[in-house]
Amino acid sequence: MQTIPLAAYQVLAAVLFTIGIVGVLVRRSALVIFMSIELMLNAVNLSFVAFSRQMGQMDGQIFVFFVMSVAAAEVAVGLAILVAIFRSRETANVDDVHLLKG
């Protein structure tokens, strides 16, 4: 069976990561920003797994479990904050929440 080269995984991961960054930077909806963050995390996961397989070591895959569980917790907390903000301000647009400035 023909193996897919490591570079392909890396390119895919880079593309996913860039899409994630651009999403975080340009979208205004907090929900979409969250999804973009997940995209970035999974891009990293992908490159972890690819390297792990390539090197024949399990460390990278264990890392991935950690990243996934942290991401799950982060989403739970983030969504809770989002709900709270939405309740008080009736918006999920991050530009409307800019109180933190000098």
Partner: protein
């Protein structure tokens, strides 16, 4: 057994001061009196017990120390709270507690109507504690503590009636002038520590003759710096100006300051450090000259003052001059002897003056007194005894002590010094009897409204007067001249001064009994002439002083205005400093210092205003900056 209780002697007045100070306004007057007078009285009894214990020891072993705790320990510097009792401090301790106790008793009567009764007794007790710490201290640092505390207490007590601007001013003046002296004293202590590596009396005085050559500049510097401190506390030229103003305080305070405490500190300190002074003959000359100049200056001023307490104040300055003359010629025992007898008769004079003032409802002007002899019999009698004593009439205490100083001045200082002293003695006899005649004799010049309630003072005031009168009468006999075996004070203090006997300056003139007797007769004659002149001037023919004033108006004005010394100090020292301070405040303080601080503030404010622009509040802008930063760092690492 008595000696082990030595630490209680200063401690009891301190406890009294704390209790009365904390309870001021809460405790009833009787309790305040009991605590204030009781602590002083018990302290005196313990002091007497310690004195008896000291006498029981053989003369060469009469130095007992008691360490309470280590106060300061830093590197090789250490200072203990340690009290030392030797013959010199024993004499001082007895004078302080004894006379101090009598003044406490007197105060219960004199200050009876005072609203701030508790505060007054608290200060009095604190004064006793400070002075006892000063005289019993076994190192310079503890002595300095007492020295400063005495200055503080004088400030508190002189300004006791702080509602009166004059009293507040006088307290401030006393404090500031004393601080100038304290500065010299402190520098002296520093120099002692640098030179000897210790501040303990025993170490310093034992090392001094070994480490310092006689006449060396270090010895002179130490001696003169310490003497600067003494001029502040003991009111010598140039720092005597605070003492006459100190009359603004209540009269018992004047008695305490002038007799038992405070002004004697300088004389005691010079006697305590006699080794250092004897190593520096130059400093002894300075002391003699300053002292005799002070004695004469103050005596001449006292001739024309019209306030009963001011005359006494200048007489104190003058008498302190005599004590320093004794110290300056190396006759420390004579100085201490005069200090002791002076404590008796000066306390008596002030308390007697207080009794007069009390009887006249606060009048202090001599020209509004007169003819009080029959109204105040006890006060009159005791005042007369004190006046005779200070004038130096046989057999009262002042005769012996002043005469001994004059004799020592003749022996060691030479005829000029002696002559100046005799002139001072004449002036003393004159102005003291002027005071006495104007107060108690002649026609009454008391204003009508005060005349009908002239009354003799209560027993609480007259009994201390009587006790002091007895002491002023017989106190001189502990050191009677000529009679073999009567020089008890000499013998008692001998162990203290023995270590420096070899350093004593040589006498210029041979010591003979005939010369001693002759000089004694001369000074007695001079005193009697002074009294007679005062009698002629102020009783027999009151026109004489008026004529004299007319003829010598310039001199009279100069004396009445105290040689314009206060005015000179005001314009030469105080005003320039004041104006300089104002200028510094306006230009340097507000301009440079405040300007620098405010400038830094404004700079930061402006800078942060600029930086604040970067914080827009949009999370995505922050994220963009973060990303760009990461790209730059990664790019740099990748392309390196």
């Amino acid at each position: 057994m008595g000696l082990s209780l030595l630490w209680l002697v200063p401690l009891l007045p301190l406890i009294g001061a704390i209790v009365n100070g904390v309870g001021a306004g809460l405790l009833p007057r009787k309790v305040v009196s009991a605590i204030g007078v009781g602590s002083a009285g018990i302290s005196f009894l313990i002091a007497a017990g310690c004195f008896a214990g000291l006498l029981a020891l053989p003369p060469e072993a009469r130095r007992v120390t008691q360490t309470l705790f280590t106060w300061i320990q830093s590197g090789d510097f250490h200072a203990e709270v340690r009290y030392a009792l030797d013959p010199l401090s024993a004499v001082m301790m007895l004078v302080v507690t004894g006379v101090g106790f009598l003044i406490h008793v007197y105060s219960t009567g004199y200050m009876g109507h005072e609203p701030a009764y508790g505060r007054f007794f608290s200060y009095l007790n604190l004064f006793m504690f400070s002075m006892l710490t000063l005289v019993l201290a076994d190192n310079f640092v503890l002595m300095f503590l007492g020295w400063e505390a005495v200055g503080l207490c004088s400030y508190l007590l002189i300004g006791f009636w702080y509602q009166r601007p004059a009293a507040a001013e006088a307290g401030k003046k006393a404090f500031v002038v004393n601080r100038i002296g304290d500065w010299g004293f402190l520098l002296g202590i520093f120099l002692i520590f640098v030179t000897f590596g210790s501040v303990d009396f025993a170490t310093v005085f034992a090392q001094a003759p070994l480490r310092l050559a006689a006449g060396s500049s270090v010895a002179t510097a130490i001696a003169l710096l310490l003497f600067l401190g003494a001029t502040g506390k003991s009111a010598q030229i140039p720092l005597y100006v605070w003492l006459p103003d100190a009359m603004e305080g209540p009269t018992p305070v004047s008695a305490l300051i002038h007799a038992a405490t405070m002004v004697t500190a300088g004389v005691y300190m010079v006697a305590r450090c006699h080794v250092l002074y004897l190593l520096s003959p130059f400093s002894l000359h300075v002391i003699s000259i300053v002292a005799i100049a002070t004695a004469l200056l103050a005596a001449t001023i006292a001739l024309v003052q019209n306030d009963i307490k001011r005359v006494l104040a200048y007489s104190t300055v003058s008498q302190l001059g005599y004590m320093f003359v004794g110290a300056g010629v190396g006759a420390f025992t004579s100085g201490i002897f005069h200090l002791m007898t002076h404590a008796f008769f000066k306390a008596l004079l002030f308390l007697g003056a207080g009794s007069v003032i009390h009887a006249l409802s606060g009048e202090q002007d001599l020209w509004k007194m007169g003819g009080l002899k029959s109204h105040l019999p006890r006060t009159h009698l005791t005042f007369l005894i004190a006046t005779l004593a200070i004038a130096g009439v046989f057999p009262f205490a002042g005769f012996f002590s002043k005469d001994e100083i004059l004799y020592q001045a003749w022996l060691r200082g030479g005829p000029v010094l002696w002559m100046a002293g005799v002139i001072g003695a004449f002036l003393t006899a004159f102005y003291m009897f002027r005071l006495y005649f104007l107060t108690f004799h002649g026609p009454s010049r008391v204003p009508e409204e005060a005349r009908h309630h002239i009354h003799e003072s209560p027993n609480s005031m007259t009994i201390p007067l009587l006790v002091l009168a007895v002491l002023s009468t017989i106190g001189g006999f502990i050191q009677a001249p000529l009679l073999p075996g009567w020089q008890r004070l000499d013998r008692f203090l001998e162990p203290v001064f023995a270590d420096a006997a070899a350093l004593l300056p040589q006498t210029h003139i041979a010591q003979t009994q005939a010369s001693e007797l002759g000089l004694m007769l001369i000074s007695l004659t001079v005193a009697l002439v002074g009294i007679f002149v005062a009698y002629r001037f102020y009783v027999a023919d009151p026109a004489i002083p008026r004529r004299l004033v007319e003829q010598a108006r310039g001199i009279y004005k100069t004396l009445l205005n105290k040689y314009w010394v206060d005015e000179a100090y005001e314009s030469v020292i105080v005003q320039p400093i004041y104006r300089g301070s104002v200028d510094l405040y306006n230009d340097f303080d507000t301009g440079v210092i405040d300007g620098a601080v405010n400038g830094v503030g404004r700079l930061i404010q402006g800078g942060s205003g600029l930086l604040r622009q970067a914080q827009v509040g949009y999370v995505q802008v922050y994220a963009l900056i973060l990303t760009l930063g990461a790209v730059v760092v990664i790019g740099y690492l990748a392309l390196r």
